[in-house]
Amino acid sequence: MVDVAWLIPAFPLLGFVLLILFGHRLGEPLAGWLATAASAGAFGSTVVALAGLLALDAPERFHIVELFTWLDVGSLEVDAGLLVDPLSITMSLFITGVGTLIHLYSVGYMHGDRNYSKFFIYLNMFITSMLLLVLGDNLLLTFLGWEGVGACSYLLISFWFDRGEDGTANAVAGKKAFVTNRVGDFGYMLATFLVFAGIGSINYDDIVTRAGELSPRTATLIVVLFLLAAAGKSAQLPLFVWLPDAMAGPTPVSALIHAATMVTSGVFLLTRLNPILAEAQLWSTGLIAWVGALTALFAATVAVAQNDIKRVLAYSTVSQLGYLFLAVGVGGYVPAIFHMVTHAFFKALLFLGSGSVIHGLHDEQDMRRMGGLQRFMPITAMTFIVGWLAIAGVPPFSGFWSKDEILLYAWNADEIGGKALWAVGLVTAILTAFYMTRLVVLTFFGRTRFYDPTAEEITAAWEARTGAADGFTAEAREAEKTAVAAVEKAREDVARKREAVTRAEEKLVVAREALDASDPAADEKAHDKLVKAFDRASASLPKAEEGVVTAEAKVAELAAAVDEAMAATRSRQSQVAALAGARDQAAMPDTVVTALTEPVELDDDLAGHLPESYRRRQEYHPHESPPTMTVPLVVLAVLAAVGGGLNLPFASNLHFLADWLEPSLFGNEVHVTASAATKWALAVIAVACGLCAIVAAFSVYLRGRQDPRRLEQPGMRRAWYVDETFANFFGGPGRLLFDGLARFDRGVIDGAVRGVAQGSSNFGDSLRALQPGFVRSYGLAVGLGSILMLLWFLGRMF
């Protein structure tokens, strides 16, 4: 029954081929169902293989199914064969099991995507590669799967390659993952060469039997190089930078590849190579443990300050993978695999839950905009809470058992600073409980902030409002200007009227003089005329004076209007200034603190200015996801709740997983020497600390007892600037180094290659003279040659 193992990768491979050929024609949802069936077939075959393995005696559970000879070059012979042992079957079980659930979930999640069938092609190809990775019976076949999953990861991260910032961010994220993993692959290849040089074979059964032939120094170097490979694939310091960006892919991909399966392959590889780890010098395994512990702590601090729900889970994954490395480093392979399995359950559950939330909220990923969702999506919320309790280490959920096991093994590893490792692990556990509680509270509890205006919308409203105020101010200014112009005109009128008065006075004086000078007796007629003129002039003077008075009155009236207009302008201006001040004071919500418990206060005027997107959202209602999505959630929630039963610490006959994995570990598993009392104490401390962290997170994020901005430092949100440092280095001084290398490559390496080619060409040119094309000269050459050979023979004879 073990020999059916070849069916395990064959099913998804078949699905992959069928989907490539007919996927487009099948369309939605048939393509998805076909892919799900292929994955389920692989799961069924794995169960059969598991039954076959259980039927064998424990020492024989290391079975190789040879398929064909792949390479046979000199002393290197590589078979394409499958290694069926407890380790590979355990991995296959959760890869195909969780994989099938995620396929099922994707049938609903990818609904309406225009590349629906392509998505499932990639998913099936991923499952095939991942199964080859874990089932391969030699390092090369594992490498094939290793690269295969890398390629699928690249394709799926940039699946929506035209989305993201600038329309390129997703494509860039995929490229980043691929390139970062190349760094690790270089370690993988060098280590494989060293294994071949050391023991002359890269088959796992030879490695198992002949690892002892390696010198400790070679073994150490191999371990360090494989650690580099594993750090790349499993996103450990310093190569973790790609994983948070990988969240650009569809959420089922984040769950399947970037949380449950592919990222654990580094840990799988180190576990598979436990005979070499056993030969290596102590510092190299210590390095594994410390890399893991520091990564766990580092990523946990970063996760506390993320606002994107998927990024929290991404950093959480990095942190949990750190735990797995810590476990492998201290020799606890069983806890590593145990936690890997439980983590696959609860992290897939959390990711799928977050996908359900994102789906129900119209692609909203910001936790500041969630809250109170348990009323809208009860199934998602219930299952998510199970996942949260599991990862936070609350007994009796699965995460508690596996995490405590790791902490216990760390405590036990005295030679490499076990107590410090334990302390780091404990701090990480506290942070984990804290940020996961934060996530759950912000998403499912508290006030529903979905309907709140977003920061962008408030900004837009403020802009609309100040824009309106600015418009009014401009109007007032305009009115003021017209009033001032009118006053000017009136003043000019007054001046004119005054001039008229002056003219009238002058006329009067002239008329009087003329009257005085004339003699009425001499010319009565003329005198009468002058008298009349004088009367007219004296009569026009009061009229003109009256005109001045009215004009002045008008000026005064208009001046009052100007004052009024100026006051209006000033009041408008002060209003605008007041608005700007108020806008500054109403600080834009940059962390969750704003509106955590109370909505942002907006006066009616501002609310009236909110843009269209706000009004549209008021009509939308968060909803529970369809059954294809909730069924996987429920199944995973059950697994996450009871997964701890795989390996219970109470009695030696309850160590199911440890007994089961024994044939794959060859006695390299460390045995814990701590007393029962110590074990209980450690467990109680961990649980107590975790519960305190949960309570603290509730008080901060649900009750608002503390300003979260004091906890969430900007450095944490930016992942301690590691990404920026990398970018600056590789863009700056690193660039010079690479340019130098490129010059060396072009000049010396390519130069040598081109030089050889040019040399051959020149040599050939010089030989052309020997080929004149004259048959008779060829004949002469043959004849002379025969004579020379004859002479040579004769010379030898005598």
């Binding site: 030989l767 052309r768 003279a769 020997l770 080929q771 004149p772 094309g773 004259f774 048959v775 008779r776 004949g779 002469l780 004849g783």
Partner: protein, 101 residues
């Protein structure tokens, strides 16, 4: 005067030499072809002479092989020569230089 083996060898050498020199100095492809035939048959004489002297049938057997090969060669070679001459009756071997390097 007895005809000894030396006579045959000398005859063979003379015929071979004539054929060889003819091959080198003549330019007519047909004549050159005949010269090659001459050289082949000179070798045949040597084979028969030694076969007779050593009383070994292998020499005569070799002659049959040579004859068969020569016949095959004539089939191919003559047809080529005829085809060439038909196209350009005044052709010389020195003009056939398409294979010059």
């Amino acid at each position: 005067m007895e005809v000894t083996q030396t006579w045959y060898l000398v005859l063979s050498a003379l015929l071979f030499g004539i054929g060889f020199v003819g091959l080198l100095v003549r330019r007519n492809p047909l004549i050159m072809f005949m010269c090659i035939e001459l050289m082949l048959n000179a070798v045949n004489i040597t084979f028969v002479a030694f076969s007779n002297a050593l009383d070994d049938v292998a020499g005569r057997t070799a002659v049959f092989f040579v004859l068969v090969v020569a016949a095959a060669e004539v089939v191919v070679g003559l047809s080529l020569v005829v085809a060439l001459m038909r196209r350009r009756p005044s052709l010389t071997a020195d003009e056939l230089t398409s294979l010059r390097g």
